[in-house]
């Protein structure tokens, strides 16, 4: 029967060999959660500009920005909590997560640039 641990790629290193009191999973969850939140921010911008999904305006004077940013923050927090609960006790392969975080953040940032979503 597949265990919870088997579907998460990792290289197990003893936590005390790594020089810290915790496994690195909690830190990796924080980084990757921020990457996911960044991508979500960019995605909501692109979806709005493409006319596919306009986030509701939660605060009238701010307009749609209040909706896009709130939804992006919700995605970030949910992703972070979910990843933290799965990874907090685990020592994981960090490099893959670092690269994924930076790529997601870069994509999210690109998507917020007017010349990029102006192409739509």
């Amino acid at each position: 029967m597949a265990t919870h641990q088997e579907d998460v790629p990792r290289t197990v290193v003893a936590a005390d060999e790594a020089g810290g009191a915790h496994a690195n999973g909690g830190a990796l969850a924080a980084f990757l959660g921020a990457g996911i939140g960044s991508l979500a921010m960019g995605a909501f911008v692109v979806l709005n500009e493409a006319g596919i999904f306009a986030a509701p305006s939660f605060y009238g004077p701010t307009g749609g920005l209040s909706g896009r940013s709130t939804l992006a923050v919700v995605v970030w927090v949910v992703a972070w909590i979910w990843l933290h609960r799965r990874w907090r006790s685990r020592e994981l392969e960090a490099r893959t997560v670092y690269v994924a975080t930076l790529v997601l953040a870069a994509l999210g940032l690109l998507a917020t640039l007017p010349p990029v979503w102006g192409l739509l």
Binding site: H22, T62, L65, Y98
Partner: protein
């Protein structure tokens, strides 16, 4: 009154909160550089008090960024984007409309302000992740080369973002100040 509430709020947003965040980011990056591996340089590795101080710095940076972005989004931006009433010709009190009324200044809204709307949120999320790691992994951050490198990379991205956004804000407010 010499300064309106909106003007003061804009100054607090950009100079106080945003400025504090920028200074903190620079300090954090310099700290990580100055305390790089003692194996390669004659630098004494930081102790527990230094780890804690760095964590405090990062928490303050993250808080400053969130204050900046929330204040900007919910206090300054509404004033900026307020549409002029019907029939109003003098648009100087309506920054967004003022910028868009002239082809020479329209880019300050279409590019500068549009960029400022969303990028700071990403910067705040990334900075918060670093603050969490600095707080939770105080010892490991200084022992784990990969984690340090990632922290430097993320902070460099955040610093670049905040610097860019701050510059855009200076340009917008110079031409179409929130009064």
């Amino acid at each position: 009154m010499l300064f309106s509430f909106d003007s003061l709020a804009t100054m607090f947003h950009g100079i106080a909160a945003g400025g504090m965040a920028l200074m903190g980011l620079f300090a954090a990056l310099f700290w990580l550089y100055a305390t790089r591996s003692a194996e390669n340089d004659d630098v004494r590795p930081p102790g527990a008090a230094s780890h804690q101080a760095f964590a405090v710095l990062m928490v303050l940076v993250a808080v400053a960024l969130w204050v900046t972005v929330l204040g900007g989004t919910y206090i300054v931006f509404p004033t900026y984007r307020t549409p002029p009433p019907e029939g109003v010709v003098a648009l100087v009190d309506y920054p967004r409309a003022y910028l868009l009324s002239d082809a020479g200044t329209a880019w300050l809204h279409a590019f500068a302000m549009e960029s400022k709307e969303h990028m700071p949120w990403i910067a705040s999320m990334l900075a918060t992740s670093v603050a969490f790691v600095a707080t939770r992994e105080r010892r490991r951050l200084w022992a784990d080369r990969g984690m340090r490198s990632m922290t430097v990379a993320v902070l460099a991205v955040v610093f670049g973002l905040v610097s860019f956004v701050a510059l855009m804000g200076v340009l917008v407010n110079k031409v179409a100040p929130v009064q």
